[in-house]
Point group: C2
Chain length 459, copies 2
């Protein structure tokens, strides 16, 4: 007789690496995404690639789905387990394996918390630039699997731009290494970038080699208040046209600002239509010059008021409105649906107006904030998932937003991933034969459909 | 009766899009790689993705191999046609389709010469950073298919880092679009990066959306002469340790320098062991400061002499030794084998020493020059392909170089590609199951093995 899965796992791992009691399983049944929950069969905590390989071989033998998970901060349901599947939680693989200051790289296990990496490298004057909002709790493995973005995307790019190599375990249990410490390498297809952003559907990433950059010496933070979103958008365009690439170019809309003032009392007037948070970093002289140019542009673009931080403390204060946006909004109604539709930068103002119209049309509360510099918008729908009628309107609104995003040459997801939440819309973005290619790639790398099945698209 | 291929092509394209005479076919039988030549059946010049699709459908129907080609400057034999195959030459698809200054992108056809792009965007104060040595004649399609590098790799990255999207025609004739103008996009697997660097084996790229950056305002060029390669290497390490990322950090060895002096009379002493060419760019104050720091480091690292350019003309003069290296070396013997083994930066000095030992061991002339900043070395073997014994020693030397590169954690090719020239060594670099994955990817995207068959690896 074949042993049940929890017992079979016990023959592979030590008892403290396995959870299978009902109360434990509930905790691992959801992630940061509203309204999604499923019950796994067991949760395992591998401590090495060998452990991962053993679990995957067992899963393949028994044809049991496996969902990989870090801290579970995902916003697209990518780490919701399959019903009666195995959860592979990588949080205990949390060692920094090597910090190479000569080649400006760091080799880490996937369970290392993103912020920990920055703490480790900042002592040497280095920076790991990607800064997803969840970086204080999210793990680097999750960041790589989802190609996480953040506030510094415009100037510094996203997670993908900093992954030089990785070790991964394939669904068949084979362990492979992709990439190396070479700045240039064109030998063979770029499999590494296929795994980055594959949302745990192609393999389990067990080591990550990251690229580091020198930490910029100076930084200047500015805040500008606008009576019209169009003026704010025009200011952004003029900044880029002046060949300035700020490291941060964020915005919040009026509704978000009102909620923020209610919550965090940042001392901002709640009657302005848009607030821009702008940061420039680099060499002190460059920062000085860029800040002056930006202030001129803001004034010429009808900014009602502009504030410039004199020190780190003031900078943090100015960033309060933007940084506390999600927390402030999440208090208003029981269910917070944080979207991440993204459009080319010059289409963002049009998209924000469309979000406002969509809210009116479907009688919903939708706040907008996000990354103006890279066109990455976070329309945030405040609702109550117990209200069936309202949730129906939420879904209609989302349909409208996705349609408009694609019409503007954008993407349904800029940084959160497809997961379960946006699965129904991926085909709208991949309307040509490339959608078939996505499925073919999945079938090639995971022929048994073991890893995170049913996520992103159905094979 | 089935019409022969040239006639069948005439039913799809206009006569001036097809070459099939013996003398024309000879010209398209080779590329920039020494010692490789094959005879195609026909050469076609598509003018649109539709043309490409028609040709690929015919090729699929008749099971005839297709090799895509731009200017034929490749150094790994990647555009050598299959014997009796079709050459798809994209040089006539050479339009700039859109220059979007708001989103800092440019949309081009694959036949646009790389330098033309920079000329077009520099008027607007923008820069397309990748600068392969062949940029005055190579086409952007070839650059993308091979993920070309260049002199600015350390600071600015390589071609891959600037490709935001592409149109490609698959071997089955389907036309797909991958990517968009969004700075952030995580919807679906990253197929775009799979096509970049795939050396024409997965699809034919027919449009390319490139990212641009503001053109740096200031630049400073320096040259340093060293009596020892170790001292030069130590200087490079100290520059990086000082958190300076120069845009150019090149070197030539003594043998190269001697050939250069003989050829271009740059006025440099031929008894020094290493010459470093260093350029820093960016904001004027930063450039000024970095140049001063670099000069101090060079002096502390026993540089025999340091020169700093006062203007553009002097900068070009200083760059002469490095830029004319290949031309100077190519004069010495009939056959020039330009290699591009690449190692982590801190292993480059060791690799250069190994190249010198290898030259002695096999009684060969091997010059070394290349990109010190990114560990990308160009050992250049000067030989005569008519001398069978010498060529045997050349191949033995190459075996030694590849083995050492991999031992040092490097790659067999940093920027030239695998093609035919390094096909026999790819498996040495992909020793685990990832080699099987490469083949599986090829079989999935090109099941008939129509595109550039026999290149990179055998399926």
């Amino acid at each position: 007789m074949v042993a049940p899965i929890p017992q079979a796992l016990e023959s592979l791992l030590s008892p403290e690496q396995i959870l299978s009691s009902a109360e434990d399983l509930i905790v691992y049944g959801y992630d940061g995404t509203a309204g999604l929950k499923q019950r796994p069969l067991a949760v395992v905590f591998p401590e090495s690639a060998e452990d991962v390989s053993k679990v995957l071989r067992l899963a393949a033998e028994r044809d049991i789905p496996v969902t990989t998970r870090g801290s579970g901060t995902g916003l697209s349901g990518g780490s919701i387990p399959s019903e009666n599947g195995i959860v592979l939680c990588l949080q205990r693989m949390n060692k920094i394996l090597e910090f190479d200051t000569a080649n400006l790289t760091i080799l880490v296990e996937p369970g290392v918390v993103t912020e920990t990496i920055n703490q480790a490298v900042s002592k040497e004057g280095l920076l790991y630039p990607p800064d997803p909002g969840s970086m204080k709790i999210s793990t680097i493995g999750g960041n790589v699997a989802n190609n996480s973005g953040g506030l510094r995307g415009l100037k510094y790019g996203v997670t993908r731009d900093y992954v030089m190599g990785m070790q991964a375990v394939l669904p068949n249990g084979e362990t492979i290494w992709l990439g190396n410490k070479c700045v240039k390498d064109v030998a063979g297809y770029n499999l590494k970038d296929l795994f980055i952003g594959s949302e745990g559907t192609l393999g389990v990433i067990t080591q990550i080699l990251l690229k580091l950059v020198p930490r910029p010496v100076a930084r200047r933070t500015m805040l500008a208040l606008f009576d019209s979103m169009e003026d704010a958008a025009a200011a952004v365009s003029k900044i880029i046209a002046a060949k300035i690439i700020p490291c941060t170019l964020e915005f919040v809309d009026r509704f978000t600002l009102q909620c923020v003032e209610d919550f965090a009392q940042a001392g901002l007037p709640t009657d302005c239509e848009a607030v821009l948070l702008i940061e420039t970093d680099g060499h002190p002289a460059q920062v000085e010059e860029e800040a002056e140019q930006i202030q001129n542009i803001l004034a010429q673009s009808n900014a009602r008021e502009t504030k410039t931080a004199k020190n780190e403390e003031e900078a943090n204060q100015l960033a309060t409105a933007r940084r506390s946006a999600f927390a402030a909004l999440a208090r208003i109604r029981p269910t917070t649906i944080l979207e991440d539709v993204t459009v080319p930068r010059d289409k963002l103002a049009e998209m924000i107006r469309f979000v406002q119209k969509t809210a009116e049309k479907h009688d919903l509360k939708i706040a907008s904030f996000g990354h103006f510099g890279d066109g990455n918008l976070h329309p945030t729908i405040l609702a109550d998932e117990r209200d069936a009628d309202e949730m129906k309107r939420v879904h209609q609104a989302l349909e409208d937003l996705f349609e408009k995003t694609l019409e503007l040459g954008g993407t349904i997801t800029g940084e959160h991933g497809v997961g379960l939440a946006k699965k129904a819309h991926l085909h709208d973005q991949y309307q040509d034969y490339s959608y078939t290619l996505l499925k073919q790639i999945k079938k090639t790398l995971d022929p048994q459909n073991l890893l995170n099945p049913g996520k992103t698209f159905d094979v």
